[in-house]
């Protein structure tokens, strides 16, 4: 395991992703708010570039009493959405939102002294 420089912190604004390659390995480094996440850019479904898609919050059906009253987003549960088929993974863990056996491989990432670094 060795630490690799990804980019300067200000080169990865909130909401953006950088896809870095290390040999044959592709890693998506994502900034969301003040947090950084790094996952292998490979969807366990059919091999799509999972980190290159958009990120969306969990969709919720709103049930009040016994009644459906509409839908909303839960922005505390952001998802990485694979752009090939829409498989969704929790941004915080890389686990598929329904079947946690399906995971994006996670890497440690840290921002310090103006730089973003990932452990590979």
């Amino acid at each position: 395991m060795a630490e690799h420089f990804v980019c300067k912190s200000d080169e990865l604004p909130d909401g953006q992703v950088r896809i870095m390659t290390h040999g044959s390995l592709e890693i998506g480094v994502i900034r969301h708010g003040d947090a950084y996440y790094a996952y292998r850019n490979l969807c366990p479904h059919q091999g799509g570039p999972a980190c290159e898609g958009i990120r969306l919050p969990q969709v919720e059906d709103r049930i009040v009493g016994d009644l459906f009253v509409g839908q909303c987003f839960d922005e505390n549960d952001m998802h990485i959405v694979c752009p090939w088929h829409g498989y969704e993974f929790h941004l915080s863990t890389g686990e598929h939102v329904i079947d946690s056996r399906l995971k994006l491989r996670k890497f440690d990432v840290v921002a310090r002294e103006g730089g973003v670094y990932v452990d590979i």
């Binding site: 690799h4 420089f5 990804v6 980019c7 080169e11 604004p13 909130d14 909401g15 953006q16 992703v17 950088r18 896809i19 870095m20 390659t21 290390h22 480094v29 969301h32 490979l42 059919q46 091999g47 799509g48 570039p49 290159e52 898609g53 958009i54 990120r55 969306l56 959405v81 752009p83 090939w84 088929h85 829409g86 969704e88």
Partner: protein, 413 residues
């Protein structure tokens, strides 16, 4: 180490879109699995004919309809039905919103370039292409509009796409609401380059056993051209109108309409009446086939008098038909899938299909990586069965020919 920048919060904001970049992982799969060693045919793929709709409108014979199509045509939400669909997954599948940004050379038709790009990326050599929004004209209440658009589209496709690229083929659209027009389409286009059969959009509300269609089936059988039933959905159906989510309409609708036609096809003895007419059941996945085989066989053994033209059980006829693979039901059901393959005699009857660029597309690896199919069976499903059924003259992707040549050079050295 290299890196690529992009912003992807809620809205993909990349300036451009490139199919080959989007599918770079598919190309890696193709290389890793040595797809250059064998033919891959995709029997169900799509393009967005709406992007060329102004060109297609020029092919409409009726001057009044042509004017209507040009100014209130499919590219502006007219002509076809409006059903509230959100099939494109509201931005999740990025090729939908971004495809407009893809640039192509001016010297060749955009549809040909885009088809070549995804085919090359996946390792697909030849593809049978279908329209996308135009499938919905099947439910247009104006029969003359369906007929006019079908002929215009078929002429446009033959002239501008199929004539120019031997890797591209199509089972052309039959305007099923008008049986006489169907026959004319078969007679006019049956010998055109790249036409490998004809296709009915399954959301038609016409019975396939109606006497009016017998001349169409006879014409297809005489020409040895297969008849495809391409699944679709309509939110206007009385049963799907009960549903409020697209997943429900798609999951059931894409199967239901083909189950109706298959059942009518069988109980009215069509396989006995047209024994040399091949049928292809397209884009309904596979799980419905064993269900229907079991259901019909069970009832047929008690009520064979209801289907007196059948000399064998319904499942035996179904095992002689052809099925496209996508969307193959693959989640947690390997045993069920293996049994399905056995029941439909997949190694001779199953035809690989991607359905690209749609949201539920399947790559060739969905077939190639199956642990219960041998190498010969995989190659048959991925291309050999289609080559045989459609009597294809194989045309390989240029990169596959180049890689094969490199291998030969290396082995000779």
């Amino acid at each position: 180490m290299t890196s690529t920048q992009g912003s992807h919060l809620f809205q993909p904001s990349r300036e451009g879109f490139d199919t080959e970049v989007h599918l770079d992982h598919a190309r890696q799969q193709a290389f890793a699995r040595s797809y250059e060693d064998f033919l891959i045919v995709d029997v169900d793929s799509h393009h967005y004919e709406t992007e060329a709709f102004q060109e297609i409108a020029e092919y409409i014979d009726d001057p009044v309809l042509r004017q209507e199509a040009k100014y209130q045509g499919m590219s502006r939400g007219g002509v076809t039905s409006i059903d509230g669909s959100y099939q494109e997954m509201t931005g999740r599948v990025t090729r939908y919103p971004l495809r407009k940004r893809e640039t192509v050379p001016a010297t060749i038709h955009r549809d040909i370039t885009l088809m070549r790009r995804w085919m090359d990326s996946m390792g697909v050599d030849m593809a049978c292409m279908f329209p996308t929004p135009m499938l919905n004209i099947a439910t247009c209440p104006r029969v003359e509009v369906e007929t006019a658009l079908a002929r215009a589209y078929n002429r446009w496709l033959c002239d501008n796409v199929l004539a120019e690229e031997p890797r591209l083929t199509s089972m052309l659209y039959l305007p099923f609401n008008d049986p006489d027009a169907c026959l004319k389409v078969v007679e006019e286009f049956g010998n055109r380059k790249g036409v490998i059969g004809f296709m009915v959009t399954s959301t038609h509300y016409k019975s396939v056993h109606d006497n009016a269609y017998m001349k169409v089936y006879a014409a297809l059988q005489e020409r040895n051209l297969p008849l495809g039933f391409h699944a679709a959905y309509t939110w206007g159906d009385k049963s799907t109108a009960l549903m409020n989510r697209f997943i429900a309409v798609h999951a059931l609708g894409f199967v239901w309409h083909n189950m109706v036609h298959m059942t009518n096809w069988l109980v009215n003895g069509m396989p006995e009446r047209f024994p040399r007419l091949k049928t292809v059941w397209i884009e309904s996945g596979l799980a419905w086939v064993p269900f229907l085989m079991q259901r019909l066989d069970n009832e047929f053994m008690m009520r064979s008098s209801d289907a007196p033209l059948l000399k064998r059980k319904p499942s035996e006829y179904m095992r002689e038909m052809f099925y496209t693979s996508q969307p193959m039901e693959m989640v947690d059901n390997r045993e069920a899938l293996e049994l399905t393959f056995k029941m439909i005699k997949a190694e001779s009857q199953l035809l690989y299909s991607s359905d690209y660029p749609h949201w539920d597309m399947d790559l060739p690896s969905t077939i190639y990586d199956l642990p219960f199919v041998g190498e010969a069976g995989k190659r048959a499903i991925l291309g050999g069965n289609a080559e045989r059924l459609f009597k294809l003259d194989p045309h390989f992707a240029p990169w596959k020919l180049a890689r094969r040549a490199e291998k030969q050079t290396a082995s000779a050295a």
